[in-house]
Symmetry: C2
Subunit: 185 residues, 2 copies
DNA sequence: CCCGTCCGTTCTGTATATGGAACGACGCGA
DNA sequence: TCGCGTCGTTCCATATACAGAACGGACGGG
């Protein structure tokens, strides 16, 4: 599918998800509703600023409007590790794998921190090691006293035994979080 | 920084990285060079198609042109696990962590598969479990006889004991790869 | 029934993003 | 030194993305 059609479909889908009317969306984004109508129909080649205004109103990362939605995610999942879902306002945490072996435990999480969110995690027991692999967005994380700024591809390891913070100052952040516990409990 | 400036800066940086001249880039993208000149200067509000043509020529995921580059990634890395780098033409694989415990071994890799690449991995020893967490792009992976298509957020687990394939038909793919070996060797 | 309101599409005049021409600056070989 | 190619910028005519008006249809209250 050509790009303008993809963007149009994504816009319409995002708008439907939020239950907004076309007119209301256009009003909030301060664009003409004719513009939005033709955009969603895939009949116009939007300007960066138009896209940005819509992304903001629809609360969708700009980049997401530009890629074709994998038509269906569920059926391709071969062996999905459904785990604890600690989702909240600021972040989604989903347990993907857990390995208990040799007197220690390792958990792999998929982490999604929403744009603008800040979350402080109280200290875990000592000798818990946290590791983060940032994939998209900019994440400020680490011990609360000395957090670091990470971009895509960056990696951090720190002691979970002190208070630590997760903060996404700009964009949504996706990352992989590994927690290593010294005991198998 | 306003968005058009960000995009302009990203375009200029991407072009510089590839050592292309402005004129040559414009020619390849089939856009006017005046257009590109003013775009890079942050003086124009580009059209989706213009951006797309440039992203293709510069071989940058479209979304990446739209976000401000974290001004410097290196110094924020607190404790980078520098491991074996199996980088090649089609994919980069970087070992981020290794846990040997309880008679088994677990390795965490950051995986980057380039757009268009296809890579077939010969069967490992039996009982090796591979797990993949896709973060960006669309990845076709799994046993060579029956690969699956994964999008961002999708997860797959399969037996590494048979031939399996990694393929990025459209965009660059970033993912986390976990390899679990039954013995600590 | 008959307004009034809201919906999404189509239409229209204007603003502006576009490709390409023109330009001056620079480097290089003859 | 001169000519020639390429560079990046500025300028121009044209195409088109824009905002908003006009429109017909759906719905609901009086």
């Amino acid at each position: 599918m050509e790009l303008v059609k993809v963007v149009g479909a994504n816009l319409r889908a995002a708008r439907a998800e939020r239950g907004l009317s076309l007119s209301e969306t256009a009003r909030r984004a301060e664009i003409g509703k004719g513009t939005l109508s033709e955009l969603e129909a895939g009949r116009r080649n939007p300007t960066l600023e138009t896209l940005y205004a819509l992304a903001a109103v629809l609360d969708v990362p700009l980049g997401r409007l530009l890629v074709a939605e994998p038509e269906s995610a569920a059926p391709v999942v071969v062996n999905r590790a459904r785990g604890a879902d600690l989702s909240g306002q600021v972040a989604d945490v989903e347990l993907m794998d857990r390995v208990v072996a040799g007197g220690q435990r390792l958990e792999v999480y998929r982490l999604h921190v929403r744009a603008g969110a800040r979350y402080v995690s109280a200290a875990h027991r000592p000798r818990v090691v946290e590791q983060l692999l940032v994939h998209t967005g900019t994440l400020v994380t680490g011990p609360e006293s000395a957090p670091e700024t990470l971009g895509p591809g960056d990696y951090i390891r720190f002691d979970g035994g002190v208070d630590h913070v997760y903060q996404a100052p700009a964009d949504d952040v996706t990352a992989t979080l590994l927690m290593r516990y010294p005991d198998p409990s």
